[in-house]
Symmetry: C2
Subunit: 238 residues, 2 copies
């Protein structure tokens, strides 16, 4: 682990995981469900939708599915789970609208202010499995001031594929240790670390909703462990 002062001097690009790290997918989906389909258990619905996400990406990674954007994976999962929540009657327009909730996710309360501070000192980009269009629409909706939107879609590989982490360093012409991955998920930080990137863990104890608090205790190996993005800005002197 490098000291924060050394990190701030050597790191030039901060690459952010987005779903859960910068935006609150669970809370945002629960709110939309409550407004449009108040009869549905929004907490269970949000978790069921998200639970389909990793298996769907794994099918792409194994080659069972060709390259498929998250928008399309989200839609496949949505179509699968709707009947279980009594929403099989939703028509095409309603399904399309609901699927786009992932473009309308709300930032955590610290995200916009934290990113604005970090942007003054570093290049801040996404490195998300979300597709470019989704991430761009989300940034406009939520006011996320990215310098650059990078995505699995640029590399045609999903995190934690090494092509994604190494790809960020390559795009900016930097050594891996000049890039820091910022995420609320240890699998993502482990993947980044294996490629030589610096890593910062962000606590998001309520990512999965208040009924399912996450263990956010520090794990060895990360360069920084932060409460939120304002805390990250403090640590990096931004």
């Amino acid at each position: 682990m490098a000291r924060p002062d050394d990190l701030a001097a050597s790191v030039q690009v901060l690459a952010f995981d987005v779903f859960g790290t910068v935006v609150d997918w669970h809370g945002s989906i629960v709110r939309e469900l409550r407004e449009r389909h108040p009869e549905v258990d929004g907490d269970a619905f949000a978790r069921a939708w998200r639970a389909g996400y990793f298996p769907a990406m794994a099918r792409v990674a194994r080659g069972e599915l060709g390259w498929t954007r998250i928008d399309d994976l989200h839609r496949m999962i949505l179509d699968e789970i709707l009947p279980g929540f009594g929403l099989q009657h939703l028509g095409e327009d309603q399904r399309q609208h609901l699927n786009r909730v992932w473009h309308r996710l709300a930032p955590w309360p610290d995200s916009v202010a934290g990113l604005a501070r970090l942007k003054r000192r570093f290049t801040i980009c996404t490195l998300s499995n979300g597709n470019i269009g989704l991430l761009t629409n989300m940034a406009k909706h939520a006011g996320l001031p990215w310098d650059c939107v990078l995505s699995a879609e640029v590399f045609h590989a999903y995190k934690p594929d090494p092509a994604t982490y190494g790809g960020v360093a390559d795009i900016f012409g930097l050594a891996p240790q000049q890039v820091m991955m910022v995420a609320a998920h240890h699998f993502d930080l482990e993947g980044a670390r294996a490629c030589g990137l610096r890593t910062a863990y962000v606590e998001r104890p309520l990512e999965n909703g208040p009924a399912q608090p996450k263990d956010v205790s520090p794990q060895p190996g990360n360069d920084l462990h932060c409460r939120d993005l304002l805390d990250l800005a403090d640590r990096l002197g931004a």
Copy 2:
């Protein structure tokens, strides 16, 4: 040609050419040369460097070179032209620094204000042959408020390859006519139009320097012909 009102209602994404359209490559290179190498004819140097650009991309398009970023093409051309300007003595660090002048190009006087207005109403992205890192560094340096940085590097094809224009529409899940290409070069707008995009020409009479004014008279086929990006914002009601 659609009327401006219809355009503003149907277009959702504005994709901008960058070199010459948004930033002044000629003037920026002339200024840097004057500061660092005042003995060199900056006007001739800038035009010689830029003149190598299209032939170099054509070598990639023909398959003589594998996929190569503009940063690397710029460097190849730089190394070729330096002796002709008496700069063959420049060392590796100086060459690297000079090559990065393309990351430090200054915007035209209207660009930042025009983009800020257009961003309120549309998604604004680059569609440049410049690489992602170059465009991101340029945006930070010049204050260009892109929603998203798209590049030939994303599509592994240089404009006017149809993969680039169609790729923008595809990334945003839009029909081609919902995307407008904005450029100061007719070949670029012709390529976009052939893919079904809307097109806006921007006059940049001094792109090649005051000694080589461009013919910026209107040509048929473009949906809009604009003096600059503030004029474009006026036309689109932004």
